[in-house]
Symmetry: C2
Amino acid sequence: MIVSIFFDIDDTLFPSSEFAELARRNAIRAMIEMGVQRSEKDLNGALNAIIKKHGSNYPRHFDDLCRKMGIKRPARYVAAAVGAYHNTKTAIQPYPSVPRTLLALRESGYRLFVATNGEATKQWDKLIRLQIALFFEDVFVSGEMGEEKSPGFFQKVLKKTGFRPKDCVMVGDREDTDIAPAKKIGMRTIRISTGKYSGTLTKADVRIDNFSEIPKTVASLKSGKD
Amino acid sequence: MIVSIFFDIDDTLFPSSEFAELARRNAIRAMIEMGVQRSEKDLNGALNAIIKKHGSNYPRHFDDLCRKMGIKRPARYVAAAVGAYHNTKTAIQPYPSVPRTLLALRESGYRLFVATNGEATKQWDKLIRLQIALFFEDVFVSGEMGEEKSPGFFQKVLKKTGFRPKDCVMVGDREDTDIAPAKKIGMRTIRISTGKYSGTLTKADVRIDNFSEIPKTVASLKSGKD
């Protein structure tokens, strides 16, 4: 019988990629408003190259961008960019059906958890801003667990929580970090078709298009295969 | 003839100390809401000790606070605290008469500048969030100038801008960092009675209670002593 459900955060609980893209665009527009004499296209290209090189958690994207563009006394432009970026990132909202679905799952008696890659404080900040942190009994973040989501990560999580794999479902948007490793250790899996990977193949038990389908999907897993 | 006016930022253009205090209180309340089993008073006391030790620009106040309180897996509490802190800090507003007074001064032909201690990006972030950055021709920040506000700092600023000291006014709330060093090199000075130092003595040319008094005060300096 399914007793607990684990959720990925980014592009599963909220449109993370869309907000990241918008935050970068708003940052670049703020730099131009502050007086940088470059086109949005040029700045976007240069920023994407920096993100590609250093990853999206690198804290000095806009300092590097100013240096790359030969901007002297960059503080005003960095402040404008970082301010606009954070204004956008702090305005994140969950996918529309997420809060009421989480509440319904709690009412039905399921125990809910988060299993996510990233830096623990940053991932908690997202749950708090999305106003859904209260629904989760615990949150497992790779940065705190010492390894990225993998069969080993999920084994540690199950050891900590005391569940059998077959009594757990993992819900996520990515085959490589959500579905494959959870499936490997015997958890049930639901692949949600949101975010940039929505078109790719899945070996999950079920594929759904909308978060609101989770209650009936989990119920069918319960009666069907246990 | 007075041609240019230099402004301090914190507690001169906006109630910086009030926002900092409120931000810390909101952060501590958010930690308690997230489940920390300590009183507001205890947490406040511990936080103030950390700020006293490391200064207010230290980036790990809340990590240290959690460690000091013996909190395990602190990410959720740090995220709650930092989020609430930043939510408060991003809501800063200028003293009510500041924007219209800056506009009136520009209309009267004065050239406006900022002279402030701090880290350049942080000080720019404040001006942008206060929505008054556009009024200033340039912004001189100790972090970029290589020294705190002092006679040397103001001499560098005047060299860069090409003004004679007697044609410039410095407006600020602090005797030690605003009035004394500017006066020392021959600038005119206006001490504004806002913030926590409002009760202390001044040797400024004029003392004012409200930012809106600046236009007539500067006009009187111009006609009276040049």
